[in-house]
């Protein structure tokens, strides 16, 4: 029995740790095109900004791979998966046979076509890998100005890292506000102000229509849709990330938005599993198959995949979309719907300066929450949203008064055993 993982981030690590709880002996090979042991991917911002040291970037102790008897092929790109021969084909043609395969290739930045933007233009980067942060640290030695196209989470985090090392940074966001998928007008204004107060400029409602270069083919600025021109020496493209499904192209493995997986994280091909940002599974809010690209989901899916790969039948129940981030001391947490989907849902908002709460209700249940400023005990709300729980009038009162902790007393009183509702259960 040979376990092979393509990808070496949270999902793969979750699978390795699960397999080794069950199967201590059979070989595991993990393959990654990045030349590092598993590292905290979202931490690249802090590494760039100098607030997390290199030795604290690694997700597990130095001896993780040897201790778990894992062969790590790092800095090696997988070309293709040959499902028929049950082999993974590496760049250069080497083939590795698998008995159980996990595809955990994560996401891949999406760069839309823009006039003047060719692969040859220098000093243009995406921001999802440690090497991206390293390249930016290098560029920051020569350049003082950066433009970040895209005001989503990755754009914000790239801006924060650049700003923290003294780069004059401007975010350009097509939507009406930063984090436009999660925030509304009020919370968007608070977030923008926090960024601006800390030195990051924000330009919203427009995007770059042309990239400008100098005589050396280095990026020198952008022209916006409204014909304004902004100068820069560094350009970060942070429009979005899509599931990185390259290795399964031209295979029978079914792909929609991400790789389609069932409740045991199996793909449509026998003995091939997928987990993490590359995989789609059940969104518990709407029952649809969707990609929820966050660390907790990646690890949890990886763990379920690992258990099943090792022969212990285990179900993944799905998850609700959610995220958590802090920008310059302003924490923002969202779970479930962040605004009402239609008139069958109802919103309630509570604003007090930089503290903002929004709840979305449907049919007497909490179906979404946005917390800003005070995010304490947000997990209790996650639990209520995920469980589609009816709220009693008393619970509603606590929710409205912001006493989230009181709700947790109910969670405790109702759990017959001192365990939370596990994300996984034996099938």
């Amino acid at each position: 029995m040979h376990y092979v993982m393509i990808g070496n981030s949270y999902a793969a690590l979750g699978a390795i740790e699960a397999i080794r709880q069950i199967d201590k002996t059979n070989p595991i090979t993990v393959i990654s095109d990045e030349p590092y042991p598993c590292y905290g991917r979202p931490l690249i911002t802090f590494w760039l900004g100098g607030t997390v040291k290199t030795e604290h970037m690694f997700y597990r102790p130095d001896d993780f791979y040897t201790h778990n008897q894992v062969t790590a092929l790092t800095g090696v790109r997988v070309e293709h998966v040959d499902c028929e021969a049950r082999q993974v084909i590496l760049e250069g043609g080497r083939r590795i046979a698998y008995d159980r395969l996990l595809i955990a290739t994560g996401g891949k930045p999406f760069v839309p076509p823009i006039a003047g933007l060719t692969p040859e233009v220098k000093n243009v980067h995406t921001f999802t890998r440690w090497d991206d942060a390293k390249a930016m640290a290098e560029l920051a030695k020569k350049h003082r100005k950066a433009i970040v196209i895209g005001g989503g989470l990755i754009g914000l985090k790239a801006s924060e890292g650049l700003n923290d090392i003294g780069i004059d940074t401007t975010i350009v966001e097509l939507g009406p506000r930063v984090l436009s998928l999660a925030l509304d007008e009020y919370s968007g204004r608070v977030a923008s102000k926090r960024l601006n107060d800390n030195g990051i400029k924000t330009v919203t409602g427009t995007t770059a229509k042309q990239i400008l270069v100098n005589a050396d083919n280095e990026v020198s600025g952008v022209i916006l849709n409204d014909d304004r021109q902004l100068d820069c020496g560094i350009l970060v493209m942070a429009i979005g990330v899509r599931p990185n499904v390259d290795v399964v192209k031209d295979t029978p493995i079914k792909v929609e938005r991400g790789i389609v997986t069932d409740s045991r994280m199996r793909t449509s091909v026998a003995d091939v599993y997928a987990a993490g940002d590359v995989a789609q599974n059940t969104n518990l809010l709407n029952g649809r198959q969707e990609v929820i690209a966050i660390v907790p989901v990646a690890y949890a899916q990886g763990r379920v995949a690992g258990r099943n790969m090792a022969g212990r039948s285990t179900e993944y129940k799905g998850e609700i979309p959610m995220n958590s981030v802090e920008i310059y001391g302003l924490p923002i947490m969202s779970m479930g719907y962040t605004s009402k989907l239609d008139d069958s849902q109802r919103e309630e908002t509570f604003a007090d300066g930089d503290n903002y709460r929004k709840y979305v209700f449907a049919d007497g249940r909490l179906v979404g929450a946005l917390l800003m400023g005070n995010v304490d005990y947000g997990g209790v709300l996650t639990h209520f949203i995920r469980g589609k729980r009816h709220l009693s009038p008393m619970m509603l009162d606590w929710l409205r008064s912001g006493d989230t902790l009181a709700l947790s007393a109910f969670v405790i009183a109702e759990s017959s055993r001192p365990r939370p509702a596990a994300q996984t259960q034996p099938a």
Binding site: G14, G40, R41, P42, L43, F46, T51, V52, H56, F58, Y59, R60, I294, V295, P296, Y299, A300, R303, M322, N323, S324, V325, E326, G329, P331, M333, M335, V375, D376, Y377, G378, G379, V380, T382, H383, T404, L405, A406, L407, S408, A409, V411, I412, A413, E414, S416, R417, P418, R419, P420, A421, A422, Q423, T424
Partner: protein, 173 residues
Amino acid sequence: MEPTRRASAAIPMEFMTTPEVCDGCGLCVVSCREALHLGPDQAPGIQIVTIGDRHIPIVCHNCEDAPCITACMPGCRHRDEASGRIVTDYERCVGCWMCVMMCPFGAIQRIPTAEGEHHGVALKCDSCLDKEIVPCIAACKPHGLKEVNPIDVSSLKRLQAAQRFAPGGDGKP
């Protein structure tokens, strides 16, 4: 350096809270705050929620399938093999609050970034494994906080449930 550990931490033990006997005096909260050197506006590893005349201690449950470990971006939270408790390397915590978002018990506190620090930390009860006497347990006069073997926790919980629903018990949870 490996901190000294109390003898009981060598075998798997769990905290067990008994809401039925908690009188809400709050001494556990005070002792925890002192032990962890927290400020008056910082929430400690144990809190008490009072609903009507009932007091419910809120503390880490050291979950088997712990969402706070799964959610941790830097990987700073793990299960201590000897004791089975979930412990935290706060030096590596970056204050992303993913664990706060995932803990169904509200047992993890956001401690905002302190002066001179780069990141806030997500604080929870790490069982004071370095202390011979656990401050909150020592402070609990009605003995509602205990450290017991996980096997006993399960049977004690069942016994509690039985007593609650027995005639003369205090009714529904």
